[in-house]
């Protein structure tokens, strides 16, 4: 029997392809991200700074999984450790585990010295947890699990595999909060070649229908929000920050890369503003006795 991971392996962007994006340098991202280094959609209320809105977003997910003191938490695609740090701050004794494919992010998190937290450089496909978790949070990772040019059925199988693993990694009664960009009012073929090659090599977004089908019988959807306008605003703030630090950014990564990022952030503002792309925040409860099996 072929193991599931062997089937799923070629579906998403490879770890090398994702590293090329996220290893661009902590200092470069530090020029335009907020101090929590959150590189995903924030959650805005009137008067929020970017950092306020990013913390609100972290709290939303932490509340979504109803974290508690001493809980075990897994963050899939942990970035620069924003979730782990905030969880430890709000609930002392939380044992946080973060996984990311970017070595620079692991180094960064180690320097944060978050109590009881650890980060590993490993793909979700290869991850071998040492314990079962009370909660999983995954922000902005699953949008890289699909790969341009893969058939619809294989793409869905890849997402299903992810939800199966999350189900396995969680304790009975465990909770899962997911945030991802999804295709909105557009065809996959409308996605710009520029974004697919220069910014996020060969990544393919999910649709809401795929997430719903892939999680069916494993997780119950408890909450669902489409906050695409929050992502338009987040990208707008990043764009402003990068423009303000353009000279320094060019010294770090060169003018071509800075121009690419300015274009990418501008395109993202437009994409979320007009609804080509959506931003889903989904709260799931683990279904402890699954009765639904997808037709294979």
């Amino acid at each position: 029997m072929v193991s599931i991971s062997k089937i799923a392996e070629p579906i998403g962007s490879t770890a090398d392809e994702m590293r090329s994006h996220y290893d661009s340098g902590n200092r470069f991202f530090g020029l335009w991200l907020d101090r929590t280094m959150s590189y995903s959609c924030a959650m805005f209320r009137d008067g929020d700074s970017l950092a306020d809105a990013q913390t609100r977003k972290l709290d939303y997910h932490i509340d979504n999984v109803r974290l508690f003191e001493g809980a075990s938490l897994l963050d899939v695609g942990c970035g620069w450790g924003g979730v782990l740090a905030r969880a430890a701050e709000r609930y002392p004794g939380v044992r946080g585990t973060g996984i990311t494919v970017a070595a620079e992010q692991v180094d960064y998190i180690e320097k944060l010295k978050i109590p009881y937290a650890q980060a590993f450089q490993v793909s979700w496909l290869e991850f071998q947890p040492r314990e079962e978790y009370d909660a999983i949070i995954s922000i902005g990772a699953i949008e890289h699990f699909g790969r341009v040019g893969v058939s619809a059925s294989r793409k869905l199988a890849g997402y299903r595999h992810f939800f199966e693993l999350c189900h396995k990694w969680l304790k009975p009664g465990g909770r899962f909060s997911l945030q991802t960009v999804t295709y909105g009012n557009m065809q996959a073929s409308d996605q710009s070649e520029f974004l697919n090659t220069e910014i996020f090599p060969r990544s393919e977004l999910p649709t809401l229908a795929e997430l719903s089908e892939a999680s069916r019988g494993l997780f119950e959807i408890k909450t669902l929000r489409n906050d695409r306008l929050d992502y338009a605003e987040t990208n707008r703030r990043w764009l402003r920050g990068l423009k303000q630090n353009r000279h320094e950014a060019e010294l770090l990564v060169g003018p071509k890369k800075v121009k690419d990022y300015l274009d990418y952030l501008s395109l993202s503002v437009i994409g979320f503003h007009v609804g080509n792309s959506d931003l889903m925040r989904i709260g799931f409860d683990r279904i402890d006795i699954p009765r639904y099996k997808p037709a294979s």
Partner: protein
């Protein structure tokens, strides 16, 4: 400070160059979509417009004001 007419002229020339259509045949009331602009050309336009006017322009402005006439009016009102 640029007048509305300056801005309209700039936009017409810019879109003419981008699309290869003579400026006099570009309607100021046709939507950018109909004139053949996509999101990548909107981003390029906004970037070049920022350099020319010396102000920051939101990338969504051509979507909120989707004709030469309406965008010129909106840009004229931007604080320098």
């Amino acid at each position: 400070v640029r007048s509305r007419a300056d801005i309209e002229h700039w936009l017409r020339s810019y879109i003419a160059e981008m699309t290869g259509v003579p400026p006099e045949r570009i309607s100021a009331t046709a939507t950018f979509d109909r004139l053949g602009l996509d999101s990548a050309s909107a981003v390029a336009l906004v970037g070049d417009m920022e350099d020319w006017l010396g102000v920051e322009i939101d990338p969504t402005l051509p979507y909120e004001h989707p004709t030469i006439e309406r965008l010129s009016t909106a840009l004229e009102k931007l604080p320098a």
